[in-house]
Symmetry: C3
């Protein structure tokens, strides 16, 4: 069998981590842990920004939120769950819901409220 | 190439998160973070219930525990590791063991002791 | 369609968890959460050892670090992020960077500083 090609989007680099924001291989997109750029926003605002970035990456690789397989959500403060989740529910809306796990965990950026990792099928 | 169909089981909804408990695509099943329904049970009891639910989802999609690829376990209290793991070991038994990671993390439900996310091949 | 075979490396067993360190299925390798064997090393040293073990597993299954899809990093103490990340950046080097998430979380072994889980394509 021949090797399937990789697509890698938006490499980040030193002094931060050398990572790709999104890797696509064999019709699956893997979006690395995203946090908001505007960390002055509250949990709802940060969640909204991160999900917009998820949309943008999926669009760039020819997928969309209806093709998401799994989502991992990390919250810096689990007491903010309802605020994150209200934005999530509006975002999923009437579309097909993905599998998700949400747990608390310390995030690298001190003001980051939420970090999200996604895998999606590329149709 | 034609698009591969999705199967999504047991959507949950507001006021909780809009998610699917299990998504199947291209012969891989993705089971979202499961916690026990009976949160009055201890760590062992909750683990047992969650693993029974994993079995049930795998059965519904035509797979089984021998086809699991990866498992993520989150423990609300890492001091309960041995109790969770004793149930895990009995559950895996003589079957082929999956890859697993287990870390501590705050869970959404205050009395939840363990949350488990699974990916499995569908033969 | 015929069933695709599994490869499972280095099963661990009681009294610890019954797991495989690495599962390969359908040209994807899933490496379970690895911690260093030498827990007397500092965060940088443990990260180095874990990434060497990742290299070794990938080599055994016919893959390599240029084929990694996703990495999850858990740090016992997020204040050690820079030390872990410096080793990470040197390890990725000029190669294609994978998608990654890094969060804080309590690890099972008291002296473990870092745990890493990897998925990679097998060419």
């Amino acid at each position: 069998m021949s090797e399937r090609p990789f697509t890698r989007l938006d490499p980040s680099g030193p002094p931060g981590p050398i990572t790709s924001r999104c890797v696509v291989h064999d019709r699956i997109a893997y979006i690395g842990g995203l946090v908001a750029a505007d960390l002055s926003a509250d949990t709802a605002g940060q969640t909204r920004e991160v999900l917009e970035r998820v949309d943008a990456y999926l669009r760039r690789v020819g997928s969309d939120r209806d093709h998401i397989l799994t989502v991992q959500v990390w919250l810096a403060d689990m007491r903010r769950f309802a605020e994150m989740n209200e934005v999530w529910n509006a975002w999923v809306g009437d579309g097909p819901p993905p599998a998700r796990a949400c747990v608390g965990g310390e995030l690298f950026r001190r003001d980051a409220a939420v970090e999200i990792m996604v895998t999606a099928a590329v149709p």
